[in-house]
């Protein structure tokens, strides 16, 4: 029987995250997904950047690496290329992954290295106190947009696809069971897989934007999304302002470490390279 404890560093609990923060819901979904996939804990490397989301790896019992702000995908690329047997999962925030880390993001998508990147989109910089993120919707309050967000925001999934990602999906914390399934599929995908999770920061973003208590915010997610395979059921008016969930794009392409291995097989020579 599945028990979370199996995958937890219990000594680190309770979680540092605020009351009602969606990060815990995603954490649990990830653990259930890994359990379903029956991957050995020793074979998982989880790499994160800095931010509330970035704290996740500290709580779970894998090979965990909490790097610098914006850089987890670059660290993960090193981990994966150097030891392709590892399942590498990157945990990043919308600031970490799309603001300071945007370049590593598009290049990881392009390179198609077999890393699963899970982006926690809470529309804000939680850890540092509610500054504007590249995902903050127009008009919303942020501590550095005190008159309301003035910049258009990214659609992370579109960006990932245009950059070349071979698996792109979106889930929500509210649909946590569906999320678990998406995580399973993302990890199974051979190549770079990107999964954006819509989550809530009730403590700062929610409070300052008067979005109600954690449960209100969670329930409100329902009305923001449409599963892409059900878009036919909606009129264009109904679809306006909604975002699609589930797998949004998938294509087959040779994975990067596999391609590199082919190169090695082709050019490898004997010896230790002395005096070359």
């Amino acid at each position: 029987m599945f028990v979370y404890e199996e995958y937890m560093r219990e000594e680190m609990f309770p979680l540092i995250w605020c009351k009602g923060c969606g990060n815990g819901i995603i954490t649990k979904s990830i653990l259930r997904a890994i359990d379903r996939l029956k991957i050995q804990k020793d074979d998982v490397a989880m790499v994160s950047g800095i931010g509330c989301a970035g704290r996740l790896p500290g709580y779970v019992d894998f090979n965990t690496l909490h790097t610098t702000h914006g850089r987890p995908l670059a660290f993960a690329t090193g981990v994966k290329l150097a030891r392709p047997e590892l399942k590498v999962i990157v945990i990043t925030g919308d600031g970490d992954g799309l603001a300071i880390g945007g370049n590593h993001f598009i290049h990881a998508c392009r390179r198609n290295i077999d890393v699963t990147c899970i982006l926690f989109n809470n529309a804000t910089y939680g850890m540092t106190g509610g500054q504007v993120a590249p995902t903050t919707p127009m008009g919303m309050w942020a501590s550095t947009m005190p008159y309301g967000q003035m910049e258009p925001s990214f659609d992370a999934c579109k960006l990932a696809e245009a950059a070349g990602a071979s698996f792109v999906a979106r889930g929500t914390t509210y649909h946590a069971v569906a999320l678990e399934k998406l995580i399973v599929e993302a990890i199974q995908h051979p190549g770079f897989s990107f999964l954006e999770v819509i989550t809530d920061c009730p403590e700062i973003y929610g409070r300052k934007n008067k979005l109600g208590d954690p449960a209100d915010m969670l329930l409100a997610q329902k009305d923001k999304v449409v599963p892409i395979d059900q878009q036919g059921r909606y009129t264009p008016e109904q679809l306006a302002g909604k975002v699609f969930t589930k797998i949004l794009h998938k294509h087959e392409a040779t994975e990067y470490t596999a391609r590199y291995q082919q190169l090695i097989d082709r050019v490898k020579v004997e010896g230790n390279g002395h005096a070359l």
């Binding site: 540092i16 995250w17 605020c18 403590e203």
Partner: protein, 170 residues
């Protein structure tokens, strides 16, 4: 004379603002030397939070509390951690609901259900910090009621003045 007050709890309880208000009350409205400083938990939200106000007749060099005259704690964790610097005979003010166990020591303990008062009497848990300021004013005598009231009103958002005045006097 140097008087050290430490306000502790967790991020989001408004203790830093409370410290600032207390400092402004003492400094601007009561006209003494005062410094206020603070520290947080990881990065800047959530976690432990601590705000310190030093009041003195002389110039204040070191703005951190070392021998605390008054400790306010809204969480058990912060109470346990910060009580060690409390002077003998110092004042310990704790939230009666959230700090069930009082650490041993020879200080004067005041258990006030500040968060409950804020929630139930004022209707907004978030003004617990202002309720606490009221309590501190009464117990410490370090600041006048006048001054604290002016300082609160100068700092809180427009439209919440009445709410906050009620909280202060709760």
């Amino acid at each position: 004379m140097r008087y050290e007050a430490r306000l502790s709890g967790e991020g989001g309880q408004g203790l830093i603002l409370a410290g600032v208000i207390l400092a402004e009350a003492v400094g601007i409205y009561d006209g003494k030397n005062v410094t206020q400083s603070q520290s947080y938990g990881p990065e800047s939200r959530g976690g432990k939070s601590k705000s310190e106000v030093i009041i003195s007749d002389d110039e204040i060099d070191y703005p951190k509390a070392t021998r605390v005259d008054l400790l306010l704690s809204l969480t058990q964790e912060s109470c346990n951690e910060y009580v060690k610097d409390l002077k003998e005979e110092g004042h310990l003010i704790v939230d009666a609901t959230y700090v069930p166990s009082i650490p041993p020591g020879s200080f004067q303990v005041y258990q006030v259900p500040m968060i409950q008062i804020a929630r139930e009497e004022i209707g907004k848990e978030i003004v617990a910090n202002i309720v606490a300021l009221g309590v501190i004013t009464e117990i410490s005598g370090i600041v006048t009621r006048e001054a604290i009231k002016k300082a609160v009103l100068a700092r809180v958002p427009k439209g919440t003045e009445a709410l906050n005045t009620r909280a202060l006097e709760a």
